[in-house]
Amino acid sequence: MAAFIKAISYYLPESVVSNQDLVEEFPEWSVEKIAKKVGVNNRRVVNGNQCASDLAENAARKMFDEHGIDKSCIDFVLLCTQSPDYFLPTTACLLQDKLGLPTSCGALDFNLGCSGFVYGLALAKGLIESDSAKNILLVTAETYTKHIHQRDKGNRTIFGDAAAATLVSTNGFAEIGIFDLGTDGSGGKNLIVKSGAMRHKDRFDEVVFDYSGNPVSSDHLYMNGSEIFNFTLEKVPELVENVIGKNGMSSDDIHLYVFHQANKYMLECLFDLMDIDEEKGFVYMSEIGNTVSSTIPVALFEAKRQDKLKGNVVIAGFGVGYSWGGCVLRCQ
């Protein structure tokens, strides 16, 4: 049985951090200039009390309302987050209760970042093809800003919080094609929050400043930007080529590319490297930033709203892990 994306909605927390806010915090830094290059004007951030399940609940409720979906049809919840409410219980279980979904639902969390939406689609497709579920609520929800050091101007410029809710079903507007997925855990050290889990349960409480004045702290999100950039330039062209090939297509058959919206600069480098025309490479992040696993569903929602989501669409997620994945969506 084929699997389709039937509906997507997303939710952004209310608080906005503008470029002007960052300029005031970092007067020594050319935030405007950097922000222009990375393509982010504003980003939304959670307040101290908001957690992944809260964003997830709002995104799911929006999806039910905006698309007229009866929540009683949901028979599985997949929730992707790297900022869960608790170590345990599973955030997807909390979400089942918050939303009042049937107790006959399966529910699980999976821990991935920027590749998470693609992996979620692959899992959902597997559940449908194995006849284990028919209407899967796939939610991506992150509060990455809670991981970021307050003085980390680089990551604070790029990242924003969000959640997206996607209904994967036996019918819909985008048939989910064949996947290409991959992993290279040797890159784990390049995008990491070291403390807080079981390997280093206690905080390190140490901060050093790198050559550009950014704080490096084991208690916060660390990103080795140049290593991540190199990984992306190396892996994404290969991923996209594999995805197109596995789906029996050539690049001429592809109408739109929706990549993980890491930052505009990286996307432009990728489009340039892969000879993807500007009108075929979709970018949507200026008002929300990099929302990790939600960037692809948010971009798909916006591409649909702009009437650009037609024909064969390549989606590709890549990042923390390292982890990457892509597939073709055959859109109506």
Binding site: I34, S226, F229, C269
Partner: protein
């Protein structure tokens, strides 16, 4: 591979600094325009134009355009 051509390609990674200011011995991190994003631009240029991967650590250790040129040249041998 030609150093003059490399300097031109290096200069094209920068938006605000005039191309005439670039030469092989330029200590590029002294440029007012220099930022960590400039480093990413150089990584992308080396990948696209020469198919060569250079790392952020190598850029941090390099001082001049000539230093980067030599890394790329060595990898092409």
């Amino acid at each position: 591979m030609d150093i003059n051509q490399f300097v031109c390609e290096f200069a094209a990674c920068f938006d605000d600094t005039d191309a005439s200011e670039f030469y092989a011995g330029l200590q590029f991190k002294q440029l007012e325009e220099w930022s960590s994003l400039s480093g990413l631009g150089i990584i992308a240029m080396c990948k696209k134009k020469y198919g060569v991967k250079i790392t952020g650590a190598e850029i941090r250790e390099a001082n001049t355009i000539q230093d980067i040129y030599e890394i790329v040249s060595d990898r092409l041998k």
